[in-house]
Symmetry: C2
Subunit: 146 residues, 2 copies
DNA sequence: CGGCATTACTTCACATGTTAGACAATTTCT
DNA sequence: AGAAATTGTCTAACATGTGAAGTAATGCCG
């Protein structure tokens, strides 16, 4: 690292940059744990979405839940399917949709990762403070709508 | 879009996801304008960093200023150099570093984009409110340190 | 001075982000 | 029913994110 020179401070007051830096500092705490399970952060989001739903989901529902775009999700689903973590079946009424659900392997992997993830999130929550965290999430939600 | 089913709400209270969504809602407002100038958001960050500095910068300084990792920055610099927007010269004292500065073309492009960018940022600022925005940026900075 | 760790980047390999276009199944209109 | 628009998903093409390994110039130390 080189020392930062003061003529570049403009970035520090930029909201997009502040959001980027904050999120990166979050993910730095999760990624090593996920990597031990050969999971990227996006793959983990898909696993979570499927585990949270009793019924199978179609691609559009997973996209909405995980905030992933179609092309990324397409590749991620192919990857997870290849690892026998999820299963795709053709939709009943609409042949365009596919019903996607976790396999036993997928659910088992979710059960292993979930508590580790919760523990890290808990550490962040306690370190930052639940009140401020809740305040922050509210502001972010309002920003998204504005 | 499919209607969201209530069993997937878990994501909404997740800070990493909230940060991702908020940032995406920001960038959606900037990207079309940048695309008109054949600029990605990251290329624009590099241009800004160089324009803000009187002296040439080396790669490490640009990386710190723009929050880009080495490999990404390497490719972006090659791209911008190929478009004659910036210039690399070998460092005086240390041959490993390169002194990077904008060309006349690069500076001209910066001057065209900067006011449009400022206008969009101003709209967001007024819409969200300067006080809340400032509060939000403070919280984000604290989160990054915690 | 010569070996050796360090530093500043770059390159590689793989995964995702982003936009635009392709395609097939469905719906709508006539 | 048949043509046209719409919808759900995928592919293509290019740019970036990420971790690991490679390379060349410096600095350190005996």
């Amino acid at each position: 690292m080189t020392d930062s020179n003061s003529s570049l401070r403009g970035f520090d007051r930029s909201l997009p940059m502040a959001l980027l830096r904050a999120r990166e500092s979050m993910m730095r705490q999760f990624r090593p744990m996920l990597a031990q399970h050969d999971m990227t952060e996006q793959q983990w989001r898909v696993l979570r979405a499927l585990a949270a739903s009793e019924l199978p989901l179609d691609v559009g529902e997973i996209a909405d839940a995980t905030f992933l775009l179609g092309p990324s999700l397409s590749r991620i689903l192919a990857n997870l399917e290849g690892r026998n973590l999820l299963l795709r079946r053709a939709g009943e009424t609409d042949q365009r949709r596919s019903a996607i659900s976790l396999t036993a392997d997928g659910r088992a992997l979710f059960e292993r990762i979930a508590p580790e993830s919760e523990e890290i999130y808990g550490l962040i929550e306690r370190s930052f403070g639940e009140d401020r965290l809740s305040e922050l999430i509210s502001l972010l939600a309002e920003l998204e709508k504005s």
